[in-house]
């Protein structure tokens, strides 16, 4: 019985079926574990290994410069915004900045298909959760950390970005946009 004291000697040999199960389970656990490092070599989707501490001032300077330099202009030379958020078209393969703030993703990025970008992700007030629909790509944006995700968009279109970490009462209004041309 499970609720009474076992026989004096309970360290007994294991039966054949149990041995088979134990063997299968250990093999599967080893494979499922080893698969993760292996996927770093053979897979094209791996979590980033690059992040730095960043102060609010450093981050603000970086993003302001970035937006000033690359904000899109229309035919008559006016700066383009989308719902009051600057639209930015950085050169292919460059460093790009994406900021979570209550309750916007800032700015709207325009990327090119098949080009590789270093996306710097951070937040300035609360923790935010980057979530790109419909790809279901999710990363945390934390204040004080510059999290660099090296990203190659392989499909084009307009991709809404949601926030999926609770960041205050307006959390559900926090939607942004990523455009891939």
């Amino acid at each position: 019985m499970s609720i009474s004291v076992p026989d004096k000697v309970w360290w007994k040999p294991i039966d054949k079926e149990e041995k088979i199960w134990l063997f299968l389970a250990i093999i599967w656990m080893a494979i499922s574990f080893l698969w993760m490092p292996i996927y770093h070599f053979i897979g094209k989707q791996n979590p980033s290994n690059e992040s730095y501490r960043v102060t609010r001032e450093q981050w603000d300077t970086l993003t302001d410069d970035f937006i000033k330099k690359y904000q899109v202009k229309d035919a008559s030379g006016n700066l383009v915004t989308m719902n009051d958020i600057p639209v930015v078209h950085p050169p292919a393969g460059s460093d790009v900045y994406l900021e979570g703030r209550a309750w916007k993703w800032w700015p709207v990025l325009e990327l090119e298909k098949g080009k590789t970008y270093r996306v710097h992700l951070s937040a300035v007030d609360f923790q935010h959760g980057l979530s790109i629909y419909p790809l279901n790509i999710n990363y945390m944006a934390l204040p004080g950390y510059d999290y660099i995700i090296t990203m190659t968009p392989t499909t084009s279109g307009e991709f809404p970005i949601l926030c999926n970490e609770f960041c205050g009462i307006g959390h559900h209004t926090m939607v942004g946009k990523l455009i891939v041309k």
Binding site: K12, N136, T150
Partner: protein, 42 residues
């Protein structure tokens, strides 16, 4: 062969356990297949 070994005696459970591990392996790799369809990320 030694008879201090009591029979395991649960063939039904063994079959269920095999079904379980097969489902497990299938779902694990199915998720990686789905993952492989998104953008390249490092």
């Amino acid at each position: 062969m030694s008879d201090n070994n009591e029979r395991f005696g649960a063939p039904g459970t063994f079959v269920l356990a095999i079904i379980f591990i097969v489902t497990f392996i299938a779902l694990y790799f199915l998720n990686y297949k789905y993952l492989a369809s998104i953008w390249e990320l490092r």
